[in-house]
């Protein structure tokens, strides 16, 4: 656990400043020895157990991540092997904070087409490796974590149609601060880390994503009143609050606010937030949730799903 006080010094900040701007009280960060793969294995093992299937039944493993410790091979191939799913197809997705929703969209399509019977979808991040202690734009928001879901065949619809897309005109508003090769050629310089233009991202994440969320509901034929929960990417509490306000959700809809104690975990944030929401509100299980991921690219993905 890393508190605001633990990281406030290098950014000349305080617990109060961080809470006020982000709603984050603390975040989880891994030890040096623990990698994103280790987090992914733990989350996946739990998901497979809860799904009640044998790992050998998994036909594909999709990992959404931006923090695999190497550019290749994929984290997914190693994960498939660690959880006993070899020789499942395995690949990573680079869709940042929208990655998990992209993975769910692909799992849905793979199963409908008969390409796979069960698909393991994982969001796994060790973002602390890409956080700069002196960065005031995004680093202090970041946490480590992993969340996983097993998607399988069903007689009833558990995943609604996906609304997804991108806007590369804002490519440089959030992402790495320098290319890997540049850093490699400049051994005196700093390792690439994440940074963002918070104002640009905030406007897009609230007002543009509110349009996407509304359209995703329409596409699914679901009204806001029929939702049990709203699970947006946990980017910043201020984004979640303003987003919910713009959507005008009824008070009956549970809103995931996992960020307060987990920070922004990019691709892992939606499954982590959903996991906590169902744990804290077991009665929500079986209800409908609108999940929406949005982030570096810029990219976004949204779908209505049945809560596990």
């Amino acid at each position: 656990m890393v508190s605001n006080d633990d990281i406030a010094g290098p950014i000349d900040s305080s617990d109060e400043w961080i809470r006020q701007r982000t709603g984050i009280i603390e975040r989880r960060r891994s030890s040096a020895a623990e990698q994103a793969i280790d987090l992914a294995v733990r989350a996946s093992t739990e998901a497979i157990e809860k799904a009640g299937i044998a790992p050998g039944q998994i036909g594909a493993v999709i990992v959404a991540t931006i923090s695999n410790s190497v550019q290749t091979p994929s984290l997914a191939a190693l994960l498939a092997d660690r959880v006993g799913a070899t020789p499942a197809a395995a690949y990573d997705i680079s869709a940042a904070c929208a990655g998990y929703t992209y993975g769910i969209a692909q799992a849905d399509a793979l199963i409908r087409s008969g390409t796979a019977e069960y698909v393991l979808v994982v969001g796994a991040e060790k973002l602390s490796d890409f956080a700069k202690p002196t960065d005031r734009s995004i680093s202090f928001l970041l946490g480590d974590g992993a969340g996983a879901a097993v998607v399988g065949p069903s007689d009833t619809i558990g995943i609604g149609p996906t609304l997804w897309g991108s806007d590369g005109s804002k490519w440089d508003s959030v992402g790495m601060d320098r290319p890997l090769k540049e850093a490699f050629d400049d051994p005196e310089g700093e390792f690439p880390t994440l940074r963002q233009d918070g104002q640009v991202v905030f406007r897009w994440a609230v007002w543009e994503m509110a349009k996407v969320a509304t359209e995703a509901l329409e596409k699914s034929g679901v009204t806001a009143e029929e939702l049990t929960a709203f699970v947006p990417h946990q980017a910043n509490m201020r984004i979640i609050d303003e987003f919910a306000k713009q959507l005008g959700l009824p008070e009956s809809v549970l809103i995931a606010r996992d960020i307060a104690t987990t920070g922004n975990t990019s691709a892992a944030s939606i499954p982590l937030a959903m996991h906590r929401l169902v744990e804290e509100h077991p009665e929500a299980s079986g209800g409908l949730a609108l999940q929406i991921g949005f982030g570096a690219g810029l990219v976004y993905g949204a779908q209505v799903v049945t809560l596990p």
Binding site: Q20, R21, D197, G198, Q199, V200, F202, R203, V206, W207, N236, R238, E242
Partner: protein, 82 residues
């Protein structure tokens, strides 16, 4: 219909009050959003988006960074709606 300078100042003061609770009489053209009114970047963007709607203008992301004082915002909005 275009708003007068006075109307834009009053409208902005109202939006700032809704977002931050700052009393409208504290908002005047010479005030800096960050230094004097202590408005953070996220609140600033919320005020900008609400101002776009209120005054029917577009305030691009790049422009927001140039609006450091209330007066600069009022000038931009007044010109943009002309």
């Amino acid at each position: 219909m275009a708003h007068t300078t006075e109307e834009v100042i009053a409208g902005l003061a109202e939006l700032i009050n809704e977002e931050t609770g700052i009393a409208p009489d504290q908002v005047s053209v010479e005030k800096s959003f960050t230094e004097d009114l202590d408005i953070d970047s996220i609140s600033m963007m919320t005020i900008v988006v609400n101002a776009e709607e209120k005054f029917d203008v577009k305030i691009p992301d790049d422009e927001v960074k140039n609006l450091t004082t209330v007066g600069e915002a009022v000038e931009f909005i007044t010109k943009a709606q002309a």
